[in-house]
């Protein structure tokens, strides 16, 4: 069993397993965690960051990872800037979080206004003793990836972030984790903390690196545990480099895991446990499903000792647990949870038999002449066709019904007989499984579909 709630990330890390044989691998450099015992990535600046509200704006994930390890318990607050944070949002983020210090890796082009203390973080560890006495329950501020407008600042602590991990069984062999996510987003941060608290090592991704190159690098470091969104995994499976990894554990989160992607991962990695997790930045991790089936058992609803409590109200999943964020910074009017402590995830579920299935986001509904269609439920059907790798369903404006459902589809392999036949075949496939208004009025074969910085399918018209 893992230790009880840690004082700081550094304390938890040191408790987990000897540090010398544990490594964080970035795309360009790597660091043995043992080097941090008598050394720092912050070049002697750690003391100047004590009690500060620190904006962590590094380009590179490895430097961000090192800074997080060092700053927890030292800084009063750390704001984790994702690499694609639009520069125009920076002044507002910095002001809302009362930022008075900034850590970057020199390569970052962002500079928060009104900041007196700047420190540079580097993977070249400078020797020298550091006082790592924790004096704060550091607030970790995550930015949600809003599609429009300014990001929301979501406040967590190490204990809310690690609540899903504490008490889990520690693997007998030190795990090597990797994730397609950036660790400055909730999904990636979970994996980073799992690697650190579980006594493991980790391979960090890099935005400039192709999916194939990342898979090859993860494979070379002997990755045992790997996570990503279903969109990440669909891309990975399109690459020949998918054969270069042989994980024991494959994890999906961040989007709906449909049966097709679960089955394909199981077929590709027959020795791996394939699990899908439900989590959001605000609600935290709610549950893992490991039975290889889409959706989750209805029995998970209700109170569970020590774990999150879940209920369905007005069709959406609501979660109450110690893992949820405490609040939004700066938004006095907007609350993370309702008066009873439940976070409304906005994810709509539907019960079929003894299981609940995710059908889509509340805001993403397409209205076809008054009938509601969740893009995701149609995608799940299309993705179930053996020729389809991934799909995106969206609304097309229509003067008669307001909107129609249309779909863009990426095939497994180029169509030999021309795409028109495949498109017709897919329409027939949808007709057999869906009511009329949910069947795409047009299905277009496309070369690729965009995935955003959070690893989710880019939805524009939905």
């Amino acid at each position: 069993m893992q230790p009880a709630e840690p004082d700081s990330l550094w304390a938890a890390l040191s408790d987990a397993r000897p540090l010398d044989d544990r490594t964080l691998w970035g795309a360009e450099a790597s660091v043995s965690l043992g080097d941090l015992v008598d050394g720092s990535s912050l070049g002697g600046a750690l003391e100047s960051l004590r009690d500060r509200s620190v904006l962590l704006a590094a380009r590179d994930q490895l430097t961000a990872a090192l800074a997080l390890i060092e700053l927890d318990g030292i800084a009063s607050r750390v704001v984790l800037c994702p690499p694609d944070l639009a520069i125009e949002h920076l002044p507002c983020v910095a002001a809302t979080a009362g930022v008075d210090a900034q850590v970057s890796d020199g390569a970052a082009d962002v500079q928060a206004p009104g900041v007196a203390t700047f420190a540079t973080c580097t993977p070249k560890i400078a020797p020298g003793a550091c006082d790592r006495t924790a004096r704060h329950r550091t607030e970790w501020i995550l930015l949600t990836s809003g599609t429009t407008g300014r990001p929301k600042l979501v406040a967590h602590t190490l204990s809310s972030l690690t609540a899903p991990i504490i008490g889990g069984a520690r693997p007998a062999v030190p795990p090597v984790w990797a994730t397609f996510y950036d660790i400055r987003r909730y999904g990636g941060l979970q994996i980073f903390l799992r690697a650190l608290l579980g006594g493991g090592s980790m391979v960090l991704s890099c935005p400039e690196e192709s999916t194939a190159d990342f898979l090859i690098r993860a494979g070379a470091h002997g990755v045992t545990h790997m996570s990503g969104t279903p969109s990440h995994w669909r891309r990975a499976l399109m690459s020949a480099a998918a054969q270069r990894i042989a994980p024991q554990y494959v994890r999906l989160s961040g989007e709906i895991a449909d049966q097709a992607i679960l089955d394909r991962l199981r077929a590709r990695y027959p020795h791996a446990r394939v699990a899908h997790a439900f989590a959001s930045t605000e609600a935290g991790v709610a549950f893992d499903v490991g039975d290889g089936r889409a959706g989750f058992p209805a029995g998970l609803l209700g109170r569970r000792t020590g774990g999150p409590e879940m209920k369905v109200e007005d069709g959406s999943l609501r979660i109450r647990s110690t893992r949820t964020a405490s609040r939004y910074l700066g938004d006095a009017d907007e609350r993370v949870a309702d008066a009873d402590g439940f976070v409304d995830t906005g994810d709509m579920v539907e019960r079929r038999g003894d299981r609940y299935y995710f059908v889509g986001r509340r805001g993403g509904v397409i209205n076809v002449g008054g009938l509601k269609v969740h893009p995701e439920e149609v995608e799940a059907v299309i993705n179930g066709h053996p020729r389809v790798r991934m799909s995106r369903v969206r609304a097309r404006k229509n003067p008669i019904t307001g909107a129609l459902v249309v779909a863009d589809v990426v095939l497994d392999a180029p169509a030999d007989g021309g795409v028109a036949d495949v498109e017709q075949e897919l329409v027939r496939h949808c007709r057999a499984a869906l009511p009329r208004h949910k069947v795409p009025a047009a299905i277009n074969v496309v070369a690729g579909l965009g995935v955003n910085g959070a690893g989710k399918l880019v939805r524009r018209d939905a």
Binding site: N398, I400, T401, L404, A441, A442
Partner: protein, 88 residues
């Protein structure tokens, strides 16, 4: 008023699409004539929505998508004329 094979007239295109969507949607289409009221044709609003979308792709026009409040077609003849006018 069946579309003559080989013609590319707007009317022919519209009629062909009405018949095609009716077939796909498994609707029984009443014998088409200019006077046939659309609501009695066997096509429901989802069928018409699909027909309008397909015709926009095929003819490059959506006669409903204009600033002026176009009168909604009542008969098959009105519907065809709307496209003939828009495609002009």
């Amino acid at each position: 008023m069946r579309a003559e094979t080989g013609t590319t007239s707007v009317k022919g295109t519209v009629i062909a699409q009405l018949e095609k969507v009716a077939r796909e949607q498994k609707r029984t289409l009443a014998p088409l004539s200019d006077d046939l009221v659309l609501l009695d044709s066997g096509l429901d609003s989802l069928c018409l929505a699909i027909i309008v979308a397909r015709l926009e792709d095929e003819l490059g026009v959506d006669p409903f998508d204009s600033d002026k409040d176009a009168e909604f077609p009542v008969t098959v003849g009105d519907f065809v004329r709307l496209y003939e006018d828009a495609a002009r």
